[in-house]
């Protein structure tokens, strides 16, 4: 520690004293500094990358970068022109707003990557200055490569996933978010039509109460409310019934524990969507259930009383699908609860209910709080169950009007319908996407930070 401090103190004046010419050149010509000091290959790589970047900008990226400042996403609409020789109308390509936006975003990412590279180059040169001032010799290329597999092993290991994340997650995310600020909908579909920036109009539309059926905001609040109701019940019914079942099976004196556990877990062996489609057929207006009952009950399509029946049906089917997972997890945790706690409770004369609420539940909640949070957030975006059972339906003109939402839609199925509808509204769908992100992020952060698992990390260790 002491030693290092002294060394830094010695270096400081020389660092301040002078920046070498090579470093200064490398500010404008990345790689030159390295080459001037004998790191030919490394310098050449920097130079080549710079050349490639300049070429990319001048030949392709520059124009898309400029587009970001032009305030529009293309001006030339596609058309057609008569070709007398062939006897057909031929297409005249116009600007493609979609591609312009996509390439603009990609170019920004490329520019950002280049800036990082440039900074690395400058930083490297300063380090070289320091090294030479201290009397060291710049490492050769092969030495550099060697360090990549030794003390800098994390670089080759983490670079591919980082690039993957950037290209396949961050870039599309930025792109999709930007759509929320455009008028990209059925009437502005590239390549035939252009779309452009509209600022916050879509957000204003989404949160305004004016217009038919109380505007988008009323529909949005209805969908949001049901999303939360659904997420709450889907999460806690599964949790509660799973726990009960696990406790029943775990109870002393129950015979064939393994058999019971296997029996319930077999449900998992059937793929979820198969079970869901099967349930949908069973609950259909002419399904087996109605045939057995000899009645025509619209389990999944009755919209009366705020679509109570379909909503209940969905939650019940979800219990059937979800309980085995909670059962599995809870059995494991229940077996881990120290027997001493129970013994102590029994000696103190606690009733079974008291033992459940004072010993079992606190332990379970403590261990499973992060699981519950992920489940809750997962259920907010639980597309499969809703889409395969009701498709978001039944449709309801009275409550949802022309907003394309339906009675059992979650935000995420609403988003999906908006993009696959007869009249797609990608911009509004994107706004919903942003809202879902905000809701999930905020909920996760709050719930996670307040959960016992984080606050009293040491409690049960």
């Amino acid at each position: 520690m002491n030693n290092r401090n002294r060394k830094n103190a010695e270096n400081a004046p020389s660092e301040k004293r002078k920046t070498s010419a090579a470093t200064k050149i490398s500010f404008v010509l990345p790689g030159a500094g390295q080459m001037m000091r004998g790191q030919i290959v490394k310098g050449a790589l920097y130079l080549l990358t710079t050349a490639a970047f300049v070429l990319y900008l001048s030949a392709f990226g520059g124009r898309y970068l400029m587009h970001l400042f032009s305030g529009h996403l293309g001006t030339k609409t596609a058309g057609e022109v008569w070709n007398d020789k062939l006897g057909i109308y031929e297409k005249v390509a116009g600007d493609n707003s979609f591609l312009i936006l996509l390439y603009s975003v990609a170019t920004v990412v490329v520019v950002a990557a280049f800036v990082v590279l440039w900074a690395m180059n400058v930083k490297g040169n300063f380090a070289l200055d320091k090294l030479i001032a201290a009397g060291g010799k710049p490492p050769s290329f092969s030495e550099d490569v060697k360090t990549l597999f030794d003390e800098k092993l994390y670089v080759p290991l983490l670079l591919p996933p980082f690039i993957g994340l950037l290209v396949f997650t961050v870039m599309p995310l930025v792109f999709m978010t930007l759509i929320a600020f455009t008028d990209y909908d059925a009437n502005h579909m590239p390549p035939g039509k252009l779309f452009g920036w509209v600022g916050l109009d879509n957000f204003r539309a989404m949160f305004s109460f004016s217009g038919g059926n109380g505007g988008f905001a009323a529909v949005f609040l209805r969908v949001l409310a049901w999303t939360f109701v659904w997420a709450f019940f889907a999460t806690f019914t599964n949790y509660f019934f799973g726990l009960l079942l696990a406790m029943a099976i775990n109870k002393k004196g129950i015979k064939g524990k393994k058999f019971w556990r296997t029996l319930f877990v077999v449900v998992i062996a059937v793929p979820q969507f198969v079970t869901l489609l099967l349930m949908q057929k069973i609950l259909d207006n002419n399904g087996i259930l109605n045939v057995l009952l000899g009645k025509e009950i619209h389990w999944l399509t009755d919209k009366s009383r705020f679509a109570l029946l379909p909503r209940l049906s969905i939650i019940l089917v979800n219990v059937w699908i979800g309980v085995p997972y909670t059962l599995l997890m809870c059995s494991g945790i229940l077996m881990n609860i120290p027997e001493e706690s129970y013994e102590a409770a029994r000696i103190d004369g606690a009733s079974p209910a008291q033992i459940f609420f004072k010993v079992t539940m606190p332990y379970m909640l403590h261990v499973t709080a992060p699981y519950l949070i992920t489940q809750f957030v997962g259920n907010i975006n639980n597309f499969n169950v809703i889409w395969l059972l009701t498709g978001g339906g039944p449709a309801d003109n009275v409550y949802y009007g022309s907003a394309s939402a339906q009675s059992t839609d979650l935000l995420v199925t609403w988003l999906y319908r908006l993009t696959t509808d007869q009249n797609p509204r990608y911009n509004i769908a994107s706004v919903i996407g942003v809202v879902i992100f905000v809701v999930c992020a905020v909920l996760s952060l709050i719930a996670y930070n307040r959960s016992g698992a984080v606050k009293n990390e040491e409690e049960y260790q």
Partner: protein, 414 residues
Amino acid sequence: MSGKKGRTARAFLLVAAFVAAAGCWGKGGGDAVTLTVWRAEADKAFADEVARAYKEANPDKTYKFIFADQGEGEVATKVLNDVEKAADVFSFSSDQLGKLVNGDALSRIGGETLEKMKRENSAESVDSASVTIGGEERTYAFPYTDNTFFLYYDKSAFSEEDVRSLDGILAKCSASKRFAMPLNDGWYNTAFYFGKNLGYEVTYDDSLTETKITCDFGNDEGKAVTKALFETVSDPRVRADADDSKIVAGFSDGSVIAAASGIWNKNSLQGYLGENFGVAKLPTYTLSRGTAEEEQVQLVSFAGYKLMGASKHSAHPAEAIRFAEFYTNEENQLRHFEMRGLVPTNARAKADERVQADECAQAITEQLRFTKTQKNVPTTLWLPMQALGNAMITGKNGFDLETELAACVRAIEK
């Protein structure tokens, strides 16, 4: 999303095409034209026949056809997902024309090809394949058949007199032998409203965007019609949630003995009914306005056309148009009639004695007197009308007519 995938795919295709071209060059020949064609599943056999005939008629070139099933009602949605990736030639129902043109998906047709189409096909059918942009009429597809619906019935259960009115039909029906009509589908349940000449008005701008939509289903007359529709839906002798598969299944097990449906079900229904197979125009329904005054109103069906369009973004636009034209010419319209009973739009094909003698063709011709042309229909019509129908079916006693109808009209209008 799909756009990005499309581009990657195109990049691959480009490379593949390049390699293929280089390969051909090496072999010194071959100008194979590959055309992707989307057509209805039921047209599989027909389309294969047409492809065979087309290859025969054009021996100087090598053609390769890739067919895919695509329901004609969904084509616009699929095509507009990524117009540059859509099929070269595709069949669709005429109500989607505006959307497809708006989305820049269709090759415009002109010159001698257009003149020939206009000479040979009925004016209404050509009109259904055209849009007006800035006062100019532009044609974008080839028509080949009418698309409407009419009445199928079991001759052993009904007389020709019975099938003239809904009351007459229902009098012979029971809860186990029902009349079926997809009344939770806007294409069918609007027939009640059109019967009283209720309709909608759409204003378009020059890029075919709907700027204003009005609909008069909600006025007093509309309320009376809605009441009649609701009474029909809640009648236990009526099967109101009858989609195509339920109609066909109903005739097969005898639980349905009369139904409103289109020509596409002809072959299967004829198979089940045998010599009792009967067809007629749609019946009339009883409209009452609260007082004793009652009126018989003819159901007026939507009449659209089936069209064949060529993709504007095809790699072989001229070939695509030529094949679309061939697919819908006189010979193939007759072939289509013989294989599936589709009534031709081509005047000479329609005048053919086989078509003239056909009872379905007669029923359709009769029904065409009572139709509303399916053109300039609000794109917002379908979902609210479907929701209204479903509300009637599931509501039964709890159906609040005034509120539901007002909400439906509000959802249609813009």
